[in-house]
Structures are given as structure tokens and as C-alpha cells.
Amino acid sequence: MRSTKIKIGVAFAASGLLALMLTAAAIGAGSAARVGSGTASATKSVCGLGTGKKATGTPIKLGGIDMLIPGVDFTTIGKVAQAYFNCVNDNGGIHGRPIKYILYNEQLNPAQEASLARKLIQSDKVVGIVGNTSFAECGTNAKYYASKGFVVIGAGVQAECYSTPAFAEVNNGPRYSNVGAAQALIKAGVKKLAIASPDTISAYADGGPALVAQKAGIPVKIFPTHLPVTDATSQLLQMYQFAGEGGGILLDFTPDTAPAFMKAAEAQNIVDKVKWGSSTPIANTFMAGQFSPAFDGHLWIDNEFSNVDPTVGPDSALMFQVLKKYAPTIAPQAFGQMGFLDGKFAVNALMSVKGAITAKSYNAAVRALKNQKSDMLCAPFYVGNLAYHIPNNSDIIVDYKNGAVVVKQTCFRIEAVDKAISQTRVWEKKFHLQG
């Protein structure tokens, strides 16, 4: 009997404590500074309407598909887009209606990619698809999206993301990012170039920088790499033996995989014997913290976006705030910039819809997007009614210094080794896509 009383007492005490904690949390949340609210200006970016009031209307459904395999995690992009949508929902939503974002993961499986795209459009009835990134999903679903009139705002990897009308990517993808890195390495004076990408995208991703090297008369060798990497040291030695002292090694890997090669370079004591190029994904302070000072001054990382730094401009500052509040486990990085820009441009399209928001009206609004400025981009984003979209084709070069990422070369146009790039620049002028 006595023990029952004790139990009841403990239960009451625990309930009281819990209630107090919840109240404190609620008060704390209410008094915390609101992220993304206020009036947008040249020095301030806001989430959506920036009202600071929660959206309560009927949700508008958007969907996304990101690849997650051992060695490569693209779900960060969708998660940051989700964080941005959460911020928009806390700031008035889309004229009072919140965004409901449905994000699926796929394991580099075409059947899964195809079924998830159909699930999003036919079962979940999303009005638009945003934040997709995968090694293969563009190729799998390009025709399906086009048949349904969808234009995906995402971050691309494979060729079909940049050669079909169904995708408008905020990034320039591994091929063009590698082109920029190869340009920088050649400008820095390398006499030979070794390039490595995941084997599933190597032919496309490494083909561009190989063309840059060939055009410059520099011997080049491609090392397709199977993921997950189990013999980084052996492969790196092969690349080093090809490139030789003073040569260039271009690594095109995400932060899951690139560190294995960089650690191997440290272990083999060859960091200062070659010039290191990379595509965008390792341009973040987390990586710089790990590989600085060893790699300081030895890196030519092509960054498709501005430096990941809150002082760069209002969008960059807002991304840091959004990550801190809505996705605190995600470190600021290029994948975060991709997710943020995916979310921002999708919201801009939604905001511009006059009348009912349907799949048809949203995707028409996406196609109408042009001259979308952001301090994260060298040139404005656009979509337009084009056969394909490569709106991001100007980059910067960054390096590590004392644990930070520093700009080595400001905005430059990547070399038009592909016809698609020169055609894109013709369209940009002809249709005034960038103002």
C-alpha cells in the first residue's frame, strides 16, 4: 500500500517536472529571435513573406528524392531544403499556406527512383519536385517528369540533369565543377593531370576536365573509383606516380570519400609535391578544419557557389541562421547552399503563382523564373523554356587557410569545352535570362 502511494507521488512529481520543462521550453521558444522574419532588403534576406507568423492553411505539397549510398550522402540537400521550408512556414508560408515537403531516399536503384517519382506525383500528389540529387535519378526520370510537365529544381550530378528540359539545377555539377578545377590547376602550371571520380559518373564527370587538359596539351589520365573506397592509398599512389612532382591531382568526391584520399596523401607525405584540385563538395570549414594547415596553399577547389561564409551576403547569412535553428546537426557547406537555393527558388516560384496552386501552375511559374539573384551565385539563376538548363556556369576557386576556406580566385566563367555551355551563353543573352 505504501509503495503504491510512493509510486503515485513519484508519478505526480515527474508529471509536474515535465510540465514545468515544457512550459519553460515554450516560453524560451517564444522569446527566441525569429529566423527569417522582417522585410527583405539589399542587406537582409527573409524566409518567404517574413511575417514571423506560422502558416496554418491547407499545406502545399512538394517532394524530393535524394541518393544515400555508402560513401555518398546527398540527403543533406533535401534536409536543408526542408529546413528552409520550415523557416518559410514559420514566416507566413505561401500566402498563409504551409509547405509540406516529402523527401525520399534512394540507394542508386533505377527501379526505386522510378517508383518514388511516380509515388510523389501520382500518390502523394505533390505540385512540384525540389531538392533532388542522385548519381542516376535524372536519367531514370527525365522522360517521366517531362511527360507530366514537371521541372525539377535540384542539384545535378549526371549528364541528363544538364541535357534534358525537366531539370533546372542550381549547381553546375561534377563535370563543370571539374572543368573549373582543371582550368585553375592548368593556370597554376601543372604539367600532367590525374583525375578521379566515382566510377558510376566518371565518364561524364571526368570527360570535361580531360578535354580542358587535352586542349592545353597536357597529358591526362582518369582513375574511375569504386565506392566505398577501400584502398585510397594505393589509388592515390597510382595517381601520384602518373602526375609526378609538380603535377596535378583532381579529386571529385563528396566529404564522405575525399578525406580518405587526403589522409592518404598526408600519410604518404606527398601533400606538397603536387597541386590538388577538387570539385565543390569539400569547400567547407569542416573539411578545412580537418586538413588545415597540411593542405593550406596546395588546393584549387572549384566552388560553384560563393564561399560558405555568413558575411558574404544576406542569403548566406540567412542560410547560417536557418541551419542553426532548423537543421542544427548539418554543418554549413556547399550541399547546404544547394538545398537553400533549391528551397528559395521553389518558394519564389510558388509566391509568383496567381490563382490556384496546382502542378500545372507551379511548374509554369518555375519555367518563368529568371534573373533570380543570390549572393551565393556568381550569376543569377533562371529556368526558362529551354531544351536544357545550365544556369550556373561561373565559379570561384577556394583554398584552405588556418582552418578556414579562403577565396583564391573570384568569379570566372568555366571554359566552354562543351557545346552545351556555349549554347547556354547564347540563350542567356538572347532571352535576357540574367537581366
Binding site: 544515400l68 555518398v72 566505398p228 584502398d231 592509398t233 597510382q238 563528396t254 566529404p255 589522409k263 600519410a267
Partner: protein
């Protein structure tokens, strides 16, 4: 010097191959270390422990967590990694060993496969692959380098090779000289007779489980450094190479197992720069094991008898 060891046949010089031999010897040292652990356990208990890699990987992940999310000092985290191998192996042996004691070796092995799958599942659950950033478990020794014959060698690589030699020597001496070692050898010959002679079988088996677990923990500590990443699935399946080394030693000879492990490591590494065969280098452990088994059993006489009556 450029055409030593016949490598010129492939148009590749010695200078080119040297670093791959060093890498291979280091990996081989870890395979050898694990292989010796496998053989000791098999000889004492009849269990071929295929959970070796998974146990090592789990220990490495624990050390990674301690180093990156707590203020645990390096030495303690590394010690816990090694001790974890011993404790988990011992716990499995004590809990499931008696139940499997009289079962077929295949059934015993399947039991350890279950342990490997459980550990893999736990690791996938608590530390999923991906997460945007890679995991590392670098040892302080990886920042120390030497140049031997114009080839860069890290202290970790030296430790891996040295540890394999040291452990093989120590275990060989232990099995010959000590009472416990003699009991282990006796168990390997006949469990029932050994028990009848008054040898505390459970205690001797416990020592074998614990000792081989420590070897597995040490391998789990060294491999992420040599691989330059902490990928638990890669670590788990590296048991295959250790298994091949143990097979080369016919699950009996510690020294042949050690040299088998080194040979497997070198073969895998040296094949990697050759584009035509590089993709097949993962088959190297078992090709070597088959060749070694055929060679070692070349003088065996197969007796065929016909039932009469």
C-alpha cells in the same frame, strides 16, 4: 635495379611497385594478426569466428565515438577498442560456446555469422554510413614517416608488420611453454580426452576466446588508420582476407598463417595498379588460399577402399 623480381615483364619497374609492396605488407600484417587469432581460437574451440571483422569494426566505432564526442584521452579510447574485442569475443564464447560445443564446425561458424550480422545491424543503426562527412580513426603513429629505399613508410605500417611478427612469435612460444598453452594444444587434439585428464576446458576456452578477441580488437584499431577511413562495412568484410590467411595455414600453423596473411596483403596491393587485373584483386586471397592448399597437400595419399562382404 629497375628490373628486379621480374616485374619488368609487365613493363613496370621496381621503383613503381615498391610503395605498393609496403602498403600490402602493412595490410598483410593486420590480416596475419587476425588470421593468427582465428587459428588459435579454432584450435582451442573448433570455432571459425567469422565475426572477427565486425567485432573489430564495432570496437573502432566505439573508440571513434569516445574520441570525438567525449573528452576521453587517446590511449584510453584505443585500449577500449582492443579490450572491446576481447570482452565481446569472451562473452560470446561463454554464452554460446557450451551450447555449440558438440555441434558440427559449420554450425559453430554459422553462430558467429549471426553475431557478425547483429553487430553490423547495430552499427548501421547507431552509426549509419553517410552522414555527409567521413569518419576517421587516425593513430598518432600515422604522422611519423620514414624513408626506406626511397619509399615513404609510416610508423603505423611498421607497427602493423611488427605486431604480426611479435604476436605470432609470442603465441607460438606461449602455446609451447606455458601450461595454458599446452592445455590449448591438447584441446585442439581431443576435447573429451583433455577434459577427462582434468584440464579445465571452459577456462582454457575462455582464454582462447579472450586472447583471439584482443587480436581482433587490435586489428580493428590498425585497419581504419591504414584504410584512411573508418568504414565499418569495409572493416567487417576484411575478415575474408584473414580467413584466407588462416586457410593457407590450414587452420593449424601460426607461422604459415602469418606469412599467408602477408602474401595476401602484398598480392592485393601489388595488383591494384594493373588496370587489367585490378578489378579482380579481391579474389586474390582465395586464389592464394587454393594454390597454397593444393601445394601443401600435394604429398597426401588418398586412400580409396571398397567395402567387402
Amino acid at each position: 635495379m629497375s628490373y628486379v623480381l621480374g616485374f619488368s615483364v609487365f613493363g613496370v619497374d621496381w621503383q613503381f611497385v615498391k610503395p605498393f609492396i609496403v602498403i600490402g605488407l602493412a595490410f598483410g600484417g593486420v590480416y596475419a594478426l587476425s588470421g593468427v587469432g582465428l587459428v588459435v581460437l579454432y584450435r582451442a574451440t573448433g570455432v571459425l569466428n567469422v565475426a572477427f571483422g565486425a567485432i573489430g569494426a564495432a570496437g573502432a566505432l566505439i573508440a571513434y565515438y569516445l574520441l570525438n564526442h567525449t573528452s576521453c584521452p587517446d590511449w584510453l579510447a584505443f585500449s577500449i577498442c582492443v579490450a572491446f574485442g576481447g570482452v565481446v569475443n569472451l562473452a560470446y564464447g561463454m554464452i554460446f560456446g557450451p551450447a555449440f560445443a558438440r555441434r558440427d564446425p559449420l554450425v559453430k561458424m554459422m553462430g558467429t555469422l549471426g553475431l557478425a550480422l547483429i553487430l553490423l545491424g547495430l552499427m548501421a543503426w547507431r552509426a549509419p554510413a553517410g552522414g555527409a562527412f567521413a569518419r576517421f580513426l587516425p593513430l598518432p603513429s600515422s604522422s611519423h614517416h620514414f624513408t626506406i629505399l626511397k619509399t615513404t613508410v609510416s610508423l603505423t605500417q611498421v607497427i602493423a608488420i611488427g605486431l604480426a611478427l611479435a604476436i605470432t612469435t609470442a603465441v607460438s612460444v606461449f602455446l609451447r611453454v606455458t601450461k595454458l598453452g599446452t592445455a590449448m594444444r591438447a584441446l585442439a587434439n581431443d576435447r573429451d580426452v583433455t577434459a577427462t585428464l582434468g584440464v579445465p576446458v571452459r577456462r582454457v576456452e575462455a582464454a582462447a576466446w579472450f586472447g583471439s578477441g584482443l587480436a581482433c580488437g587490435a586489428a580493428g584499431l590498425l585497419l581504419p588508420d591504414l584504410l584512411t577511413s573508418l568504414d565499418y562495412s569495409a572493416l567487417t568484410f576484411l575478415v575474408i582476407s584473414s580467413l584466407a590467411a588462416a586457410l593457407i595455414g590450414r587452420l593449424r600453423s601460426l607461422w604459415v598463417t602469418m606469412f599467408g596473411g602477408l602474401a595476401v596483403g602484398v598480392a592485393q596491393s601489388v595488383l591494384s595498379p594493373y588496370g587489367n587485373v585490378s578489378a579482380y584483386r579481391s579474389a586474390a586471397p582465395f586464389v592464394l588460399a587454393i594454390v597454397a592448399l593444393l601445394y601443401l597437400s600435394r604429398r597426401r595419399v588418398v586412400t580409396i577402399s571398397r567395402a567387402t562382404g
